[in-house]
Symmetry: D3
Subunit: 242 residues, 6 copies
């Protein structure tokens, strides 16, 4: 495993010369996660999953993208959202540059819901160009792992935001950045088409919490991380075999 940020180009070049060379990019967001979690929650989580994958796959770990498409949360000041076309452009540019540098596989570990569509568009462009095998992982296995450890109910199907799950993850990754004294559940009421069309979240929750952080623990976070890494490796099995 090689941390590109603190490595010289000659060392990275030597590592990428291998025919099964893999580069892993954490793609996060600067997004509100309630009064108790930091704005960098999505980036920190993606960076942790990416680091573990890089170790397991002996890959080049790239420095993270700290911003993503977080339009849903843009009504909370401090959230800084990129437009979807910018997210796509970043991933396409880096994928092409990796191909130029000799990498064979480009794995994006995506930590932000809003990045899913724009990253899918980028992966398709790179796939059509055919110069590098590219995949964006949207935390495979994480939802199932959350269901296994969860004690509180979710705010809505598929919506884990500053709740038990995300708070557990941050307690496992960077506990000093968690304001445990600010934990407070919030269960908004949603309209009939919630989840089926674009909708910003700030009209539904003043605090930005969707669910209940009070039952979060670092152990639950570690369990979710470990399961996500294993499921990611299973998905990557064929793509990363030389």
């Amino acid at each position: 495993m090689l941390d590109a940020y603190r490595s010289a180009w000659t060392d990275v070049a030597a590592h990428l010369r291998d025919s099964a060379s893999i580069a892993i990019l954490p793609f996060g967001a600067l997004e509100q996660h309630g009064p108790h979690l930091p704005l960098g929650t999505d980036t920190a989580t993606a960076a942790e999953v990416a680091r573990r994958l890089a170790e397991r796959l002996d890959a080049v770990l790239l420095p993270p993208i700290h911003y993503g498409d977080t339009w849903n949360n843009a009504g909370y000041p401090g959230t800084l959202s990129l437009s979807p076309t910018t997210v796509t452009a970043i991933a396409v540019d880096l994928g092409r540059a990796l191909a130029d540098s000799g990498a064979s596989v480009f794995v994006v570990v995506n930590g932000d819901w809003g990045n899913r569509n724009p990253l899918a568009a980028a992966m398709r462009t790179l796939t059509m160009e055919g110069r590098i095998r590219a995949i964006a992982l949207d935390y495979p296995g994480m939802d199932a792992a959350i269901e296994r450890v969860r004690e509180s109910r979710g705010a809505a199907p598929g919506l884990n935001h500053a709740d038990e799950a995300e708070t557990s993850l941050m307690l496992a990754i960077d506990p000093d950045a968690v304001h445990t004294d600010r934990f407070a559940p919030s269960y908004p009421v949603f309209p009939s088409d919630f989840g089926t069309r674009p909708m910003q979240l700030h009209p539904f929750s003043e605090s930005g919490v969707f669910g209940d952080p009070t039952t979060a623990t670092a152990a639950k976070g570690e369990a979710i991380l470990a399961a996500t890494v294993e499921a990611s490796l299973a998905v990557l099995a064929d793509l990363t075999s030389p």
Copy 2:
């Protein structure tokens, strides 16, 4: 000073509510800096200058952009270049999001030569929109400071790359990431139009060094950093006065 990456949105929102609120973004690059300096050299330097400015101005420090337009060095594997339109889009998106979040001043600390034109384009767009006062600093005062401490000659006018100056900066910022055992000067011969038209650098230097790192010291790096911060504050004087 507030580190946005590890702060909750509620704290950042409160800080930005101030009428002279300032947000500072380090914009770096993942770019070759010879066999002795890490790929993240430009980002690390910009992040250090940004951190010092944030402290002096009581500003919100944003997490860095780790990639930039480094087409000039794209011939060295491991360099991952964004296209100029992507650099512009990132800065425009973040400037708009900061205006939405209530910030008054957006300072980009640019650490990469290739980002200059695309960031200038972004600043103009933000200035024309008129919602936030925006400036991209290209290290004011740094060239003069380098001239004051320099013992080796430069490779070409305006070209400091993996040389005495940049190596001194990294010795001051992150000495463990510097391979002092790999120091080796390189003084290429350039054509008559070097510096006046777009040209990639890899045909001129095999190692990626342009100048002489052997005379670098952490003290010189600290002197360059300090002078750059002071000159930056002088430039910002009118923009950041409420």
Copy 3:
């Protein structure tokens, strides 16, 4: 209910003058569906669902878009795919024109998997502009209905293509266009990352069938249609209430 294609503008204008006026657009595709189903299968299905919704909601029914983003099936000649940006542009243009015409709600009935992301992008643009309430329905309730009637197993999770389900739908909608003498099941073997990254389908099935059409019946198709319409109405309940 008003069929815009065969109505005069004066009649449509009068209908849209109502404050809860709804316009419904079927968005299909010209895409391979095996040797036994027509290229227009997705459009025909979306048009049928849209027609039923228009009757239930007394809406203006718009003529269908016959083409969509079908890159996944573009390896089968006769499939004619639009690029995702074109799909987005069509939906945005029509949403704006409907707002200009006085419509309050724009419902897109999407019949093609590949249209999902580009239509979501269009809906977000229209939502951000705030001139019309816009939603793209991706057949809510259909997967559950298929599970209820299905006798054969699916080819892969979430993949219903020219199989029992789609064949049943066409037997209910346009039986004369179904070549019942060409029914033949096909169950390809997929790699570990199937469904998680962009992948074209023609390397996996020569016929273009993914599943088993032999157990299809018109009654199953009618059951799927009816359930989809009811679930769609449930989703639309809040959006279409004046």
Copy 4:
């Protein structure tokens, strides 16, 4: 002749395998045509001409585009206009997909004045790419045929809108969609630069009629259709010869 919409991909693929294979696309519009003609008038007319050409040339008939650039009539509610770049994108995408599918000739039968420039742009792009012979027909021979049958005078040179000519066409193609009880002539007064610069039509005619529909007959419509088809075949003679 093969109707792609209701044909299986295997049948279309076999038909296109021929070296002189021709695909014909009717490109219409959803545009006001006075209180007596339907919004789909342009599409219906283009579809009829395209169908006749497909029969004469043994071509693949593609399902129609129901929307076009109708900015001129966008002031009449119910008219839903695409932007010109969208019209161009649709035609370019379909031309490329046809080339991928093995077609040799792509004939667009254009039924809407506003599509002329954007379709010309698309044909040029396809021609420059050189992968398919592409042509957009703007009803060759139709103006001359109209002059031969016309009893009423035109509203302005080159302007036939919901008048004797277009009403005759619809009486021939789909008489049930014509409100014969709403026939009323309208002869607006135009400024000196009418026809030489972009101008919307609604300030000039409240009803949307430009000319006189009262003298329309199905026989005149049939004569116009027949002449247009023959003139189109004459234009296509060299392009479609193997």
Copy 5:
């Protein structure tokens, strides 16, 4: 009349302050016109018509655009064609800048066939924005004037290129730039779809002449110019009346 190129901004600003202020832009091309006419023929002709109109309308005459969309002739070296989007962008930018400067009417005198569509697109954008009255004149009255003076036959309907008409114009405007010793007629044979789809001209004529220059005279050129100016003034009558 004011020649903007050699006037100070204060004089132009004073002239544009008038409520009926008119600015006139000649839009030409650098395009082959056979071995006997200069590449600047289209620009020179447009500039002459524009100058006469500026005098008659007491308008601000803008310096010409020397390049246009001349894809049709790009097979002849020396022809330098702009893409259509560039032509559109130039006209839109200048129209907006004129509106900012206080002009009321923007008249483009177009001298190149290939500019017609892209300039029409620009005029529509400016018209939709509604900040300036904008028109692109495609030499109204010129075809009729040519028919009146012509002695040789044309090469094809609507095609006057380096023939009697264009040569007469240059003999009237800049006789020293005409190589009278190189006059040679050329009458290519065209396919059945000539004029109906995009086609480059160099396969049809080695010299680039389409017609017969030998019957050209300066007097004919002057007659064509005078008629074009009068017809242009007639078109502009309503647009330029205060």
Copy 6:
């Protein structure tokens, strides 16, 4: 040397057939230069330098671009600014067309400060495409020459606008277009960040003068021109050697 504007394509084609063929384009602007200099000052100066270079290099001289990116001066009516993307597009289109025409070297003589970044972007695109050697000259040697002849002080570092230097240039190039009776110095006060971020100039000077024109002479202008031409030739030495 060949003046393309008044030459036939056959003559230009013959000239460009040479393997070291050079084409030179003056890129100017229509920009305020105070009440005493014409709007065309930048174009006239670039055209003069280009003409001298064309003679020295036996190059093809192209007709000038009369408009540029002059956003800085857009607050003065009569200034007509192109957007930066338009400037880039023009230069890229012409560079490609020159490559198609057989030219080996494309030299842009840039006369306008605002064109620097967009022309650099164009040169990089052309360089990456690799079909023509392209360079944009920003008056090499001119600043040094100005310092040698200057008697008045400059308004700000790097800012020569309608001052002694530019007025001297126009007295040398086109003295009849200079209003010597309107000479009046102007020395605005600038903020601390002047020159480091985008800023329009009209708030700082009512007349548009930045510096002192009263000490201008034609002899100084001639000295500046001659020095700029020599320095340009030195830069071009390697690029134009066969």
